[in-house]
């Protein structure tokens, strides 16, 4: 029996069209737009001005506060302007726009392809390197990694969990990374273990990626403490709390963090970025992005520089098909539709999915028939139908009691609802309102 999490979950069609496409390096764009806030927490502060010459890997915005991250230039060239630019939601956010000239990296960065296995730094130095190089969670939530690696006093961590689940349909960027950068990834995991001072690391991979499981088993066979676990395919297994439950059978308390049950979860993409940051001193300036869609000429996985316009990636995959109706940034379950194609790739962009008209449109909404399917599907054990109507009626105190803040917005409820009710949309609204209420209460 393969392991999985016990409560809820759904089985959307996998559609991993680009699984066989190796990672291609995307040609450099003419201009990059790098937002100064690509992570959870406080936005960074711009450190360059118009007209400055920058090299790839140079800091262009410094982190403000502990929960924040440095932003580095992903290209070499001249700063065109530091101004507001449209981001994925269509709203304008402060960004650094750089005109690309050549491809010159900072001297301190090792740009060679050699795999460096020896870890010379100690725990504090590793954490500092992650912070300096702007490493954030690459799974999509973009939480600064150095914060996760710094175990708060009084807490204890005994096992590191590496998330190679990639449960979102369509996305294959983590899959390809596990296959093609296996050695570096394993070194990255060893570095993370050293930073956390743990003896054990578990890699969780869903069983639809058997090649990745085998390859990682092969690479980790000689290493003590690292084990690879095949998991039953079920969405949302890549959720932190679900993965912990599936692998080590511990339950993170409501409102708590994984470290409360003695574990820390990092994505495979993050582990690879940590390898680059610690061993090569290379900041997070590029990432693997899946560009896929049923009508797309050539679904690909590309290594793109942060700040590259989305249109370049789609052009690389063969251009937009005529019957395109929607382009989603992220996975089809949790991603958001893009308002415009000039927006840049950021640290959290895991995929771009091009949908046809018939796939893109939501079906007509009907009234709730009290079938309870959303309750069965919810991996957090919540009652989505109730949370939606409480939010609709503005009963936010009650929805706080019903643990609306435990929702991780996986979208299983909206997916399963036979009446096509926009459950998650309303729960998100409720979460935002309740979040504001809690904040106000704390300030008092």
């Amino acid at each position: 029996m393969l392991k999985t999490f016990p409560k809820g979950g759904v089985h959307p069609p996998e559609n991993k069209i680009s699984a066989a496409a190796g990672i291609d390096v995307l040609p450099l764009p003419e201009q990059v737009t790098i937002p100064i806030s690509q992570h959870l927490g406080a936005p960074a502060e711009p450190a360059v001005a118009k007209g400055d010459t920058v090299k790839a890997g140079q800091i262009i915005a410094t982190s403000k506060g502990f929960v924040s991250a440095n932003i580095h230039s992903s290209v070499s060239g001249k700063v065109f302007k530091v101004d507001k630019a449209v981001d994925a939601s269509g709203y304008k956010k402060m960004s650094v726009i750089i005109k690309v000239e050549g491809d010159e990296w900072l001297d301190t960065i090792d740009t060679g392809n050699e795999h460096k296995k020896d870890i010379t730094l100690n725990s504090e130095e590793i954490i500092r390197k992650c912070a300096e190089n702007g490493i954030v969670g690459m799974g999509g939530a973009t939480f600064p990694s150095h914060v996760k690696l710094s175990i708060p006093p009084g807490k204890h961590c005994d096992v590191l969990i590496i998330n190679g689940v990639e449960c979102e349909p369509y996305l294959t960027s983590d899959h390809r990374l596990m296959l093609e950068r296996t050695g570096e990834l394993v070194t990255g995991i060893s570095i993370l273990m050293k930073a956390l001072k743990v003896e054990r690391a578990m890699i969780g991979i869903e069983n639809n990626k058997t090649d990745a499981i085998e390859r990682l088993r092969e690479f980790t066979s000689g290493i003590d403490g690292i084990s690879v676990h095949a998991l039953k395919v079920k969405y949302p297994q890549g959720g932190e709390k679900q993965l912990i439950k599936a692998l080590i059978k511990r339950e993170v308390p409501s409102g708590g963090l994984p470290v409360d049950v003695g574990t820390v979860v990092h994505n495979v993409g993050t582990a690879y970025a940590v390898y680059e940051a610690v061993q090569l001193n290379k900041p997070l300036v590029e990432r693997v992005v899946t560009v896929t869609g049923k009508e797309l000429e050539k679904p690909v996985n590309v290594l793109a520089r942060i700040g590259t316009p989305v249109s370049n990636l789609i052009e690389f995959a063969g251009g937009l098909p005529d019957n395109t109706a929607k382009i989603v940034n992220g996975g089809p379950m949790m991603g958001k539709a893009l308002a415009n194609l000039s927006v840049p790739v950021t640290k959290g962009t895991s995929g771009l999915i091009v949908f046809r008209e018939e796939e893109a449109r939501r079906k007509e909404t009907g009234p709730c028939i009290r079938c309870g399917k959303c309750i069965t599907a919810c991996a957090m054990g919540l009652e989505p139908y109730l949370l939606m109507s409480l939010t609709e009626k503005g009963m936010h105190e009650r929805s706080e009691k019903e643990k609306i803040m435990d929702c991780m917005e996986c979208g299983s409820c909206s997916y399963i609802c036979p009446a096509n009710r926009p459950l998650l949309d309303y729960i998100r609204l409720g979460k935002a309102t309740v979040g504001k209420m809690i904040k106000e209460r704390k300030q008092k």
Partner: protein, 287 residues
């Protein structure tokens, strides 16, 4: 047989009398004094429980107004001057002077003026759409057209115009309770001073972008050029964040600002048609 009936009646009556006595003494002992004027004030209020005054309902408002010594910050926008006069009479205070106000939608992004760049297919709720993206046009400030304000209105004073996709306010029904102002996630609706014959002059735009992008998103956007500010003789117009604002308390409805606006962002409503220079001359000649 008759004795049974008699005993029953007597015993039950006795029980009733004892219970009544207990209740009487308890009521005396635990009596809570309540100002009788609260009831009177509540009666005078419209009883809509709309929350426009800032209190949960009419009763709470009545309690607050009786407790307070002045009318500072206390006003029933629904009842208006008439109701406030009645309350003042009950409380034996001076009638406060409150100017009637009316809600105004500060967006003129009709399909002609504002190009549709995407199609929204999600939950029909303005706040949700606003949190997801800029809406069906490129203007991140304008009306989303999903009618949350209309749903919030308790007085049938609003409807969505299906042609323009914008909410319309029925001035006669609007009581300026402010429910729509609170409901709008983009702060487009404003309460302005009600003028004679429902006349209105206002900047029908809330776009704070610079001229270029604002104009690109919507033909009738305010570009913050400042022409209206210069032409105004009454200091009623101020410009901040690339956006003009006409203070309805200072505006004298001279209409000078309307023709100078290069984008037509300033609207004049319910005025008689303007006389052109030619017509004026003709009239002079006739005179």
């Amino acid at each position: 047989m008759s004795s049974v009936v008699l005993i029953t009646i007597i015993s039950l009556s006795l029980l009733g009398i004892i219970a009544a006595l207990i209740l009487y003494f308890v009521a005396q002992k635990f009596k809570v004094y309540e100002d009788p004027r609260i009831d009177q004030v509540e009666e005078a209020l419209p009883g809509a429980n709309c929350g426009g005054c800032g209190f949960a309902g009419c009763r709470n408002f009545a309690e607050a107004i009786v407790k307070s010594d002045t009318f500072d910050g206390l006003n029933c926008p629904v009842g208006g001057g008439e109701t406030m006069a009645k309350i003042a009479e009950i409380l034996d205070r001076k009638v406060p002077e409150v100017e009637p106000r009316v809600a105004v939608v500060r967006c003129n992004g009709t399909p002609e003026h504002r190009k549709k760049t995407s199609e929204y297919n999600g939950a029909l709720n303005c706040t949700i759409a606003n949190s997801l993206y800029t809406g069906e046009s490129d203007c991140p400030y304008g009306c989303l057209g999903l009618g949350e304000c209309v749903d919030a209105c308790d007085f049938n004073a609003m409807y969505m115009d299906s042609e323009t996709g914008l909410p319309v306010i029925i001035d006669d029904n609007c009581v300026a309770c402010g429910a729509c102002v609170k409901a709008c996630p983009r702060n487009i609706i404003e309460l302005r001073k009600k003028a004679r014959k429902d006349r209105k002059i206002y900047v029908s735009c809330v776009n704070e972008d610079k001229g270029g992008p604002a104009r690109k998103a919507c033909k009738v956007a305010c570009i913050g050029c400042g022409k209206c500010e210069k032409v105004c003789n009454y200091d009623a117009i101020t410009i901040s964040n690339n956006l003009a604002f006409i203070d309805s308390d200072k505006c004298v409805f001279c209409r000078k600002c309307v023709p100078v606006c290069p984008t037509g962002a300033i609207l004049e409503l319910n005025f008689p048609p303007r006389k052109t220079a030619k017509k004026e001359q003709e009239e002079k000649v006739k005179a």
